[in-house]
Symmetry: C2
């Protein structure tokens, strides 16, 4: 692996990992009403096209890191749907 | 511009625009307490490295679209700081 690939993978890991705090925050607070579902869906589409672009350009860092982003994003969409109106079990009465 | 570049720019525009609904939602509701600041900062760092990677690879779509993402992300960080605890002017009493 050369320095260019290391730079690309670091960049991709950071943009992928940027989803993680939101994911953890949502898991912890069991609410995500302020998180835009539209954002997550547009992002998923963009990530999918980046993976396609990576294959066309034979760009290893783009393919690998966006596949990871894809996985995190799908998870976040699931949580957003689950906790849209907060978790009824932890709701303040 | 060839098809590969169009694919890359479309991918980049979508991942950049994925920030827009969150930005509009925050502007409209004047609250962003569920939006993770850590996420925004990690993302900004990742975007910066993507721009560097784009220059090294001489990859035009990566440079252009990530520069746009950079601008949107900076704006979102500003709004997140401004509306962290909701806008006092619209606070329910």
């Amino acid at each position: 692996m050369n320095w260019t690939q290391i730079l690309g993978i670091t960049a991709g890991l950071l943009t992928a990992l940027s989803m993680l705090p939101q994911l953890i925050k949502t898991l912890k607070e069991k609410k995500a009403e302020d998180v835009s579902l539209k954002m997550l869906v547009v992002l998923l589409l963009g990530i999918t096209l980046w993976i396609a672009y990576g294959f066309v350009r034979e760009d290893f860092p783009i393919i690998v890191t966006n596949s990871f982003s894809f996985f995190l994003n799908i998870t976040m969409i699931y949580l957003r749907k689950k906790y849209k109106h907060g978790d009824p079990a932890t709701e303040k009465t």
